[in-house]
């Protein structure tokens, strides 16, 4: 029997991942050994060190293009760009998690998740200082899993990363301090459907392994070339796409999205909406481009149909929503469709507008979404956040700044010029048109117009309605939320007015190795 060879590990290229996972592990130890009084500040510090450290190290690695860890991990331009995006969004989310001055009950997270909701102990704990500080290691693990997901060069690692990012998210969804029943319900729904979807991903992995004899993306690429009629391979790819599209909340695999977005604590929703989408599309790009780049005829019609379905469902069902969190959920479904038009813009040759456009869109969408959800945490009434649309009527008279920021984010989501959303949309639509998918771009434009209606309806409601006499109060955010709002609003404006340098960065980073 030959001796087992140790895989080559390039620790420099792995540094961002090691930092983030290291911070998460230290967080678990702190949870076990530090006294409760000091846990919250220490945990916030560790989570920030991990995510910001991961962000800085990915920036330092810029320009790297290598395959490491025995070929299982590709550290290339796309992976690093998306990892930097994920760690940045993760750090902003940790700041939102850490906000303690908005809620009179001191945090968005439950004091003790194990205490049954509504019990005497729960009522007693609801007003205490205590917080379930496990949320910080959990979110750090999720960030690590997402980073791994975008650089997985191997279907097995992709599956493990999928679970590493999903399992903490399932738990985080169920940890709201208020409306705990809704929160637990969201966690249950997300968990059952998420496990169902990952089973499909896994079966796809098994079939692709059967068809090509390997789970390494480069080997699958060789096996897939000219194998358009191989039933195992086609079925396998379809199942893999189902698993990934579920995470990216693409219709028709979107059914969980509104419920989970509404039920989860708002900082978690912000994190999920922004960072999970980046990670899921990172994996979609790598799978379709690296493993099936030479077998485009298999996946192109499938992705085409999913893009149209997602845009139409997101735009049309969003019109009927009366809750802002659900409205943003349908908006996220529509945006997943727009992102898929960028994926359709992938072309096999060297000039690849689709890859860079999709990466840029993910960055702009993530930052805008976190900002929008951060604003939702400010507008409150007795039972927590006031997310019903009618509660936002006349908000501009109560708090002009909140209304103005919300308007900025909504315009960016709608894709109005001079905001980052416009630049992103322009880039992905142009990529789709350049590869000849102009019917898709037409559908995208029409659905953008439909979706713009529901964003602008909120703006109109805020500015041209009279406020209700018993309207919600606008909380004064503490420094963490203020920092998040400042960064996201600035990014939304800057990426809309002078996007050139970041677009160039995305263009130069649009390199996949494997």
């Amino acid at each position: 029997m030959p001796p087992i060879e140790a895989p080559d590990l390039s620790f420099a290229a792995l540094a961002p991942l090691l930092l983030v996972f290291g911070a998460a592990c230290v967080g678990v130890l702190v949870e076990a050994f530090a006294p409760r009084a000091v846990r919250h500040p220490v945990q916030v510090g560790i989570a920030l060190v991990g995510t910001v450290g991961g962000f800085v190290t990915t920036l330092l690695l810029a320009g790297t293009g290598e395959v490491t860890a025995g070929g299982a991990l590709a550290v290339d331009g796309v992976a690093l760009f998306l990892q930097a995006t994920i760690t940045a969004l993760g750090a902003l989310s940790v700041l939102l998690f850490a906000e303690r001055s908005l809620d009179p009950a001191r945090s968005a997270f439950v004091a003790s998740a194990a205490v049954p909701a509504g019990s005497a102990r729960d009522v007693q704990l609801a007003v205490s200082e205590r917080v379930q500080t496990e949320v910080y290691p959990l979110v750090t693990f999720a960030v690590g899993g997402m980073m791994l997901f975008t650089s997985a060069n191997d279907l097995l690692l992709m599956f493990v990363a999928l679970e590493v990012l999903s399992l903490p998210l399932y738990l985080l969804c169920g940890m709201a301090r208020r409306r705990r029943l809704l929160s637990q319900e969201a966690a249950l729904k997300y968990f059952l459907l998420g496990a169902f979807a990952s089973a499909f991903f896994l079966y796809g992995l098994a079939l692709v392994y059967g068809a090509t004899g390997s789970v390494r993306l480069a080997v699958i690429r060789e096996g897939a070339t000219g194998a358009g009629n191989d039933l195992l391979l086609v079925l396998g790819l379809a199942l893999l796409v189902v698993g990934l599209m579920f995470k990216a909340s693409v219709a028709p695999f979107h059914v969980w999205t509104p419920d989970v977005y509404q039920g989860a604590p708002t900082p978690v929703t912000a994190f999920m909406a922004a960072a999970t989408k980046v990670a899921a599309f990172g994996a979609v790009l790598r799978l379709l481009y690296m493993a099936f780049g030479t077998a485009e005829e298999i996946w192109r019609p499938l992705v085409y149909a999913l893009a149209i379905a997602s845009m139409v469902v997101g735009a049309v069902l969003g019109l009927t929503q009366t809750d802002l969190k659900r409205l943003f959920a349908y908006s996220s479904i529509a945006h997943a469709g727009f992102l898929l038009t960028g994926v359709i813009g992938l072309s096999g040759d060297g000039e690849d507008p689709g890859l860079a456009a999709t990466m840029f869109y993910l960055l702009t969408y993530g930052l805008t979404t976190i900002g929008a959800f951060a604003l939702l945490t400010l507008v409150r009434d007795g039972s927590g956040e006031a997310t019903h649309l009618s509660r936002w009527a006349g908000l501009a008279q109560r708090s002009p700044l909140t209304a103005a920021l919300m308007t900025l984010f909504l315009l960016a989501l709608a894709g109005i010029p001079l905001t980052s959303g416009f630049t992103g949309k322009f880039a992905v639509f142009r990529a789709a048109i350049e590869t000849g998918a102009w019917p898709l771009a037409v559908v995208a434009l029409v659905t953008s117009a439909v979706a713009a209606f529901y964003y602008l309806r909120v703006v109109v409601l805020m500015y041209f309605s009279d406020p209700a006499p018993d309207g919600p109060t606008i909380g004064v955010p503490g420094s963490p939320t203020t920092a998040v709002l400042a960064v996201t609003a600035a990014a939304t404006l800057v990426l809309g007015i002078v996007p050139g340098s970041v677009l160039d960065l995305a263009q130069s980073a649009a390199v996949l190795v494997g």
Binding site: P116, Y203, G210, G263
Partner: protein, 99 residues
């Protein structure tokens, strides 16, 4: 016996699991059906490993088992917390979030 039989058996098990997820009402049973789907994948992987004469498939099956175990921990924690509040683990009873 031909290896194809194992693949067919795995596909049948996977389908039973998927149908179970869709039609059963108890969250624990739904979850067991997901586990059945994962195990049918393991059978598929081991069959393909045998067919191709490589060990990769068997190795992946171990990873799947570990991940499934982690999923059980998280899943049962969530189902337990819902059950302790509502005294029910039926997925029809968790119906506050809709439309």
């Amino acid at each position: 016996m031909s290896l194809a039989n194992y693949l067919v058996l795995a596909a049948v098990l996977f389908t039973i699991g998927a149908i179970g997820v869709l039609v059963r009402r108890n969250a624990i049973v739904v979850f067991m059906c997901v586990e059945l789907m994962l195990n049918s994948v393991n059978l598929t992987l081991v069959t393909f490993a045998r067919a191709s004469g490589t060990l990769d498939g068997q190795l992946i099956a171990f990873f799947v088992m570990v991940v499934a175990a982690a999923e059980v921990v998280v899943g049962l924690a969530i189902i337990m917390s819902v059950y302790r509040t509502r005294r029910s683990s039926s997925v029809d009873d968790v119906n506050l979030l809709k439309y």
